[in-house]
């Protein structure tokens, strides 16, 4: 019923306990925060009008993030800084927006353009950084990874799935594996699957403590 004249892009985290939210739970939470903030949001046309919003690529339950984004279309202009403040005071702290800016109405959708994601995978298990790096390198060299998820097998070609080599580092006394993946139409590789496969390959009993998405980028930035 109302045209969205302004497209506001919000950057927000998925942190703390709220990393246990599913994608649907997270998107509902963002929409409700926008309503509580009293933003003059546009609604979609049709029999079942809903807030006009669009989200970036989904995160699995349990995976955190420092860099999520969603677009909300507004009927009236609200200064981005003011919209950000209103959203922040209407959001649970673990998903409170970090930034807001207007983007062109015709800009490509977040889901279609953001195809490259970087994750920090924190591991435990007493393997040295060097050994872990070594087993990851060997795995990447093997070229293919078979992942089983909910009884289905998926085969990932690692050369095209990983635009960058995985890198192991130490941070605050924790071992962190940085993994950048390319998200495809036929499913995305979960970074923890790669890490666990490397552990298995090297016969060590490490495990994954947490997974956090740290960067979402477009193909040309890869």
């Amino acid at each position: 019923m109302s045209e969205g004249l302004f497209r506001l892009r919000i950057a927000y985290p998925k942190a703390g306990r709220l990393r246990f939210l599913s994608h649907l739970e997270l998107t509902t939470a963002c929409e409700r925060a926008a309503r509580r903030a009293g933003l003059p949001y546009a609604v979609t046309q049709g029999f079942n009008p809903k807030m006009k919003v669009a989200f970036g690529p989904a995160l699995p339950v349990g995976t955190g993030s420092t860099c999520e984004r969603f677009d909300v279309w507004l009927r009236e202009y609200v200064p981005a800084g003011e919209a950000l403040e209103r959203l922040r005071s209407s959001s649970s702290i673990d998903v409170a927006p970090l930034d807001a800016c207007y983007v062109a109405l015709r800009a490509p959708s977040l889901a279609a353009s953001l195809t490259i994601a970087t994750y920090d995978v924190v591991t435990v298990g007493g393997v040295s950084v060097e050994d872990q790096q070594g087993s990851l390198d060997a795995l990447v060299k093997a070229g293919e990874l078979v992942v089983e998820h909910k009884g289905k097998q998926k085969v990932f070609d690692l050369a095209s799935t990983l635009p960058k080599e995985p890198k192991v580092r130490t941070s605050n006394g924790q071992t962190v594996v940085e993994i950048t993946t390319r998200m495809g139409d036929r499913g995305s590789l979960r970074p923890e699957s790669l890490v666990m496969a490397a552990f298995q390959r090297s016969g060590t009993s490490g495990s994954v403590l947490s997974v956090t998405r740290t960067r979402l980028a477009e193909e040309e930035d890869a």
Binding site: R17, T28, E31, R32, A34, R35, F47, P49, S92
Partner: protein, 613 residues
């Protein structure tokens, strides 16, 4: 208080829907320095409990008391319960993430008979002794309340006290009495004796049931009179309730627009025990709806009650809301509509252009049967409504019926099939031929369960074999095509019937069944009647003598000590009128029917507008 989060967090990676356990929802209150903590517990999964309005109302009432922290707890799903037991993590509250056993008060809702085994699962997971008699000074006070409290006996042994009736004011009084006597360091028995003096509070341990009904041992009142909030306007509908992350059953703002219903359907316990009718005014409803939407960010609001279309100002409320909510995408809904109260205008105001399915409950197939149960709607009402709705663009309708009602014959059951056929024909005639393929008619059939404090409280529930026979009569009478027929599980209804009218002997059965694995009985895939049959056998309790036996009018009933305000004479006369298929009007439209509630409880019907039409 011990914070269990560090021990809970590692369990969440391997359980379904961890959002059930993480707290942090918008509106959840975290009061660190409270002197008194009260947990509100819903004995089923989070997604059901968060839809419960009483939890939301009482949460707000507790939060208003200085020094008191309200908390919530729900029954963890089976996978989580298993993880918790395996890792020695006790049941925890969401807000402070501390053990439920560390609360001062644990209030457990009694929403439905089939949740009784869940109550034991909750107490066990919380490491609180199952029986009130085994609790000591270090255990929290365990209080029940809610719809099933009107026959508290089956679960009496598990509760220190049970509140009968409206909780808004009573909960504050219970907390204040508890805090005062606790501070003076008295025994648990003395605490309970003090609580027994609070109006509406039933303390089972202060009664003997040796004679078949509960008799006060001296300190407690002979009869416990239900607590009643005279005027709903005295307590504001919760406008900043907790907003769940998870997709819960009724994920929306709810504003209770009226409480009570005196239509007088003779099978309906709620209609009998929540009298008199108390409406909120149009102004307060509109105010609270708008405030609730603003505070929660919900996209839907429901105007709830037992019979929302009866509100004397409903059209005014809907018109004002539809104006205020225009262009926001927010929808207004009503829980169900009476066949005779439906108007296309109301439905249009609700849908905002959307034509979702309509639900009606004619309950019975013949006029005789509907007169027996005092469901004052006619076939013409139903068919007229169907024509109006289908002509106005609705294509989906769901109809609720019951079988096994007192005096029912096969002709009455066949009447359901005949009525459904007429509905189908009326629907077809009301839509253009090209759209007839889109007509959807759902028919849902439940087995009648006689309930305490109703005119049918003396009646027998039909046996399972008889249910199956009548189901086949019904199936044969239904139109062969175009009807989506579903049944409420008769085995579940059978157990519900026994629990609904049983006495204290049922407690042993519940405990036995729970020990054998009964839990989540209201979930079809978890329910096993076999487990319950074994429990009845093991405890020497004959379920048929409770559920499927006709009682004499002068028989002592297990709930005889619970005073709802209804006179037993009224119930008896209503039962006799049922036998003669004589209907009784609704006092909010017509004159007083002498049910006894207003004079006994010193209250009156409250309407928002001038009158009901």
């Amino acid at each position: 208080m011990s914070d269990l989060w560090p021990r809970i967090e590692p369990l969440l990676a391997s359980v379904e829907r961890p959002a059930r356990y993480i707290d942090r929802e918008w509106g959840a209150l975290h009061i660190d320095d409270a002197e008194y903590r009260a947990a509100l517990v819903y004995p089923d999964a989070y997604e059901l409990g968060m839809a419960n309005q009483a939890i939301g109302i009482l949460y707000q009432c507790l939060a208003a008391i200085p020094g008191v922290a309200p908390e919530r707890a729900f029954l963890p799903w089976r996978d989580m319960a298993e993880q918790m037991r395996h890792n020695d993590v006790p049941l925890f509250t969401l807000e402070s993430c501390s053990p439920l056993s560390e609360m001062d008060l644990v209030g457990i809702t009694l929403p439905y008979e089939l949740t009784y085994s869940n109550i034991l699962e909750i107490l066990d997971l919380a490491c609180i002794p199952l029986r009130a008699a085994d609790r000591t000074a270090s255990d929290p006070l365990v209080i029940g309340g809610g719809p099933c409290a009107y026959n508290p006996e089956p679960v009496a042994a598990f509760f220190d006290a049970i509140l009968i009736g409206d909780g808004e004011h009573a909960i504050g009084q219970i907390v204040s009495v508890h805090r005062a006597v606790k501070a003076s360091g008295v025994s648990r028995h003395e605490i309970l004796s003090a609580l027994a003096k609070v109006e509406g509070v039933y303390v089972p341990s202060l009664y003997s049931t040796d004679s078949g009904s509960a008799v006060s041992l001296g300190i407690a009142p002979a009869r416990v009179t239900k607590r009643l909030l005279d005027d709903l306007g005295m307590v504001r509908s919760p406008v900043c309730p907790v907003v769940p992350f998870m997709d819960v059953v009724h994920d929306r703002v709810t504003v209770e627009i009226l409480r009570g219903c005196s239509r007088g359907c003779r099978f309906c316990q709620a209609g009998m025990v929540y009298r008199p009718v108390r409406e909120r005014t149009a102004d307060t409803i509109v105010r609270d709806v708008l405030a609730g939407l603003e505070c929660t960010g919900h996209e839907e609001v429901s105007l709830t009650s037992l019979s929302s279309a009866d509100h004397s100002q409903l059209e005014e409320v809907l018109r004002r809301l539809s104006r205020r909510l225009e262009g926001t995408g927010v929808t207004v809904s009503l829980p169900s509509l009476r066949v005779d109260a439906f108007s296309v205008e109301i439905a249009r105001l609700l849908g905002g252009g959307r034509k979702t399915g309509l639900t009606f409950a004619p309950e019975a197939g013949t006029q005789r049967m509907r007169d027996v149960i005092n469901k004052n709607v006619t076939e013409e009402d139903l068919l007229g409504t169907v024509r109006k709705a289908f002509s106005a663009g609705w294509h989906r309708i769901k109809l609720y019926f019951m079988i096994g009602l007192p005096t029912e014959t096969d002709a009455d059951i066949e009447g359901i099939g005949a009525l459904v056929r007429k509905v189908q024909e009326a629907a077809k005639e009301s839509v253009p031929p090209a759209q007839r393929g889109g007509i959807r008619i759902g028919v849902s059939v439940a087995t009648f369960v006689p309930k305490a404090h109703t005119p049918f409280q003396w009646d027998a529930q039909i046996t399972l074999d008889e249910v199956r026979r009548r189901q086949s009569v019904l199936r044969d009478s239904m139109p062969k095509r175009g009807i989506d027929l579903s049944w409420h599980d008769p085995e579940v209804s059978f157990l519900e019937g026994v629990m609904a009218r049983g006495g204290r002997e049922i407690a042993d059965v519940i405990e036995h069944a729970w020990r054998a694995g009964a839990c989540y009985d209201a979930w079809t895939e978890e329910f096993s009647l076999g487990r319950w049959r074994e429990a009845f056998d093991a405890c020497g309790v004959d379920p048929l003598s409770i559920g499927s036996r006709v009682r004499e009018f002068d028989e002592k009933l297990p709930w005889g000590h619970i005073q709802t305000g209804l006179s037993s004479e009224f119930l008896r006369i209503e039962r006799e009128r049922a036998s003669e298929a004589i209907t009784t009007p609704d006092c909010t439209f017509d004159e007083c029917t002498g049910c006894g509630v207003c004079p006994t409880l010193g209250v009156d019907v409250i309407l928002g507008g001038e009158s009901r039409e």
